[in-house]
Symmetry: C2
Subunit: 249 residues, 2 copies
Amino acid sequence: MTKMKCVISYDGTNFSGLQIQPRNRTIQGEMEKALAKIHKGEHIRVYASGRTDKGVHAKAQTLHFESDYTLSPADWKRALNTVLPPDIYVNDAAQVPDSFHARFDVIEKEYRYYIFNELEPDVFKQHYVYHYPYTLDVAKMQESGQYFEGLHDFTTFSSAKADIKGSKIRHLYEVSCHHDGSRIEFILRGNGFLYNMARIIVGTLLDVGRGKRQPSEIEELFGKKERQSAGDTVPPQGLYLWNVKYEER
Amino acid sequence: MTKMKCVISYDGTNFSGLQIQPRNRTIQGEMEKALAKIHKGEHIRVYASGRTDKGVHAKAQTLHFESDYTLSPADWKRALNTVLPPDIYVNDAAQVPDSFHARFDVIEKEYRYYIFNELEPDVFKQHYVYHYPYTLDVAKMQESGQYFEGLHDFTTFSSAKADIKGSKIRHLYEVSCHHDGSRIEFILRGNGFLYNMARIIVGTLLDVGRGKRQPSEIEELFGKKERQSAGDTVPPQGLYLWNVKYEER
């Protein structure tokens, strides 16, 4: 058996998220369908670095699978892209050791979130950014980002639907905010993210940007450990799983 | 009755074109549905500057309609945008004289066509540009554009499905080609365009860009008056109705 790692991008607009579902179109479902086509109907399970929700995009999601076939990485890439639908693309394929696991071996994930900060919407951006027509103080949002960096219990900043048993402690390496004309970009990097965590952090930063909260108030929120103390979960279409890092072997 | 002119933008991805059809989603259909909602079910017919095909976008399509209502232009804009789906947006509304007609009064139309000239596709651009992975000589395409400018019989450069009786003579003011990194932009301006004409001109310019034809050969093509002498009709997702001009009154 050969273990292959693939870095893929997808436009999340027409997917019900990553994880396979019996009746809905998902990234995992389409990837496994593509692999079955290549393997004459045999089911090949794919393991991704983690789930993404309905409507969330990926520039570099990572997954692995095992196969009896011995194709070169370039041939795997070509074969998969030939059978995959146009909203998923394999950027890169590589053979990895048997011990590699796309989910358990992640050392860093990067998410980016994009806001289109104009009064009027743009029909061409509706699925790719969050249209937010209110005045935002980007400097204050940038200042607030630092309160999220470091090791914290992120219970306040994760969905109540998150896994109840697991640890809520995560280490964020960067939470920054930049603007380029009417585009506002949030960069979030860390060793892991709880369910909805990236979208709730951005929602809380938007409260600061609009003057509903002060940057210094962020620190207190960690102690509350209640989802409702944080800002809204911003919509999925602005979110991109931007990069997934693994230990160099 | 008040006559209103509206400038609208739409993402053509999920429309079967502009013109109303009984079972498919169209721009005209959605506009008339929105107007019926505002007019308590009354059918209000909209007249556009011209049709656009399935998958073709618009930055500034123009249309008119008549109504018994007396709303300010700002209120018309707000009312329509409240009821329209997110892939159509009214950029501007204005009252016009009874004699105005969105189709018959056009003095100039501008189309733009966008090509994504990279080896690998980009999942986020699939509905908005034509992915063309071959090397193109932009200077030669730019040079060829001038042969289309001026007054010509465009029979060779229009679909065989075009209106058989009407004149095929049109006056093009500009056919130019520019590149900005991997994005190639074609600008076509004229007093009118036959069915598929913009897309066939771009297809013919791409033949020149790939070295399949020489710029000087374009002139002979006009004399052939046969659709099959010209290049392919490029796909709809790269095409944008960019602007429609009317006489200042």
